[in-house]
Amino acid sequence: MNRLKLIVLSCFLLPFFTWADTAPPCENDLECIEIGQWDLGIALGYGIRSNPLKDFDDIPIYMVPTFAYYGESWYFDNGNLGYTLTEQESYTINLATSFSTDSAYFQRWDPSNIFLAGGSTFDSSSVANNNIGLFTRGVQEPTIGDLEKRRFTYLGGLDAFIYTRVGIINFSLAHDMLNVHQGTEAQLKWIYNLPVQDWNFELQLKLDWKSEEIVDYYYGVRESESPYWNQAFKSKSALNAGIELTSTYVMTQHWDLLFLARYTRIADAIAESPLLNEEYTSTLYIGSSYRF
């Protein structure tokens, strides 16, 4: 287990010591939303999301929208649909959909990237046609041909939140709903919001477990792509660890400054795939946002 995973796990233990002590909700605008009203916003600025795939460009970010609608029980939040089974002062249990970011590395117009305007070239065929040293490990390792499509899918499952004085614990368990890879994903997050006058800092530590089916579908090598790597790389379940910071500064009623930093340490089980040449992915963004 690497150092980041240990730090993340240690932080998850902290809120359990203050289990009974619930934080008051809605201390800032980011934590709560008005029922029956669309929350729309757009962020304009510059950022980049690194792409851990070999020969796939990093993803520039100029513009990102946010759109959410919460009813009494149903909600729609940035592409995710959910139904609240129970909401108490100290915990919430939802049925919720989600989508993983794995397919986004392969397709420019993946729903995760669709609004990330930029000139990124998601041209996997260029990898196949450019056999000189691409997708090779040392001189002897065979190249990988055209990549088959890795499709986007929706996951559906349970999403639980526990609210404590020292942050929110979020656990989610979701399964592929569109029969794309038939995999399961589980996430454990610790979310801590720190409002300081006009600033708000949200720190998030995350463990993200992906089943063997997911790893195989996105990062495994198909026989048509490379018979050698199809045999040589054996997929197994993986545990990524990540840290995220989202900070906002309120300038006016509608305008905020926005700074985001995300870092995910990719599990060895994925990083060992011949499709990758990075064992991490990161996102940096600075800009301003307008909330309608």
């Binding site: 909700p25 809605c26 980011l30 934590e31 709560c32 939303i33 008005e34 029922i35 029956g36 009203q37 929350d39 916003g41 962020a43 950022g47 999301r49 970010i61 990102v64 929208p65 946010t66 959410a68 919460y70 909600y75 939040d77 940035n78 592409g79 995710n80 959910g82 909401e87 919430t92 939802n94 919720a96 995760s112 609004f115 999403d159 939140f161 979020n170 949200e202 998030q204 989202t246 926005l258 985001l260 995300r262 996102t283 963004y285 946002s289 909330r291």
Partner: protein
């Protein structure tokens, strides 16, 4: 508990209920002697309109008609007195953000006869609930 104690307790309860009934009758009599009413009694403010601007009408009824005075904690009308016993209403333009208490007193004796309050109530705030994702989770 002995029988004598039970009987004593019964008398005690009886006397209490009798005195309560007498008090009720007295209250009703008193209420009837002087009544002060206000229309409207409530003013609801909104985020856009925080101040209540309206005309209220005070009306009173005394068993024995007599000149009265109206006192209030509204700065623009601390005291108003009727000229005669026949007057039984009074209208007032109000601009306030807070409740106003009106008290009717006997003009001659200054005895407090009745009171009424204008309640200023803000509209209920928007209903909110927890949001489960950071608004910028699409990044």
């Amino acid at each position: 508990m002995q029988i004598s104690q039970i009987i004593a307790s019964g008398f005690l309860l009886l006397s209490f209920s009798v005195s309560s009934s007498e008090q009720l009758i007295a209250d009703e009599t008193e209420k009837f002697t002087a009544e002060l009413s206000l229309a409207p009694e409530f003013c609801i403010t909104s985020d856009e309109q925080l101040t209540c601007e309206l005309t209220v009408k005070l009306e009173w009824k005394n068993q024995i008609p007599k000149p009265i005075c109206i006192l209030s904690d509204y700065d623009n009308m601390v005291r108003w007195c009727s000229e005669s016993a026949e007057v039984n209403s009074f209208s007032l333009d109000i601009s306030t953000t807070e409740d106003i208490q009106f008290v009717m007193i006997d003009k001659a004796t200054h005895e407090t006869l009745a009171g009424v309050k204008l309640k200023v109530t803000p509209t209920a705030g928007p209903k909110v609930r927890r949001r489960y994702r950071n608004p910028w989770s699409l990044f």
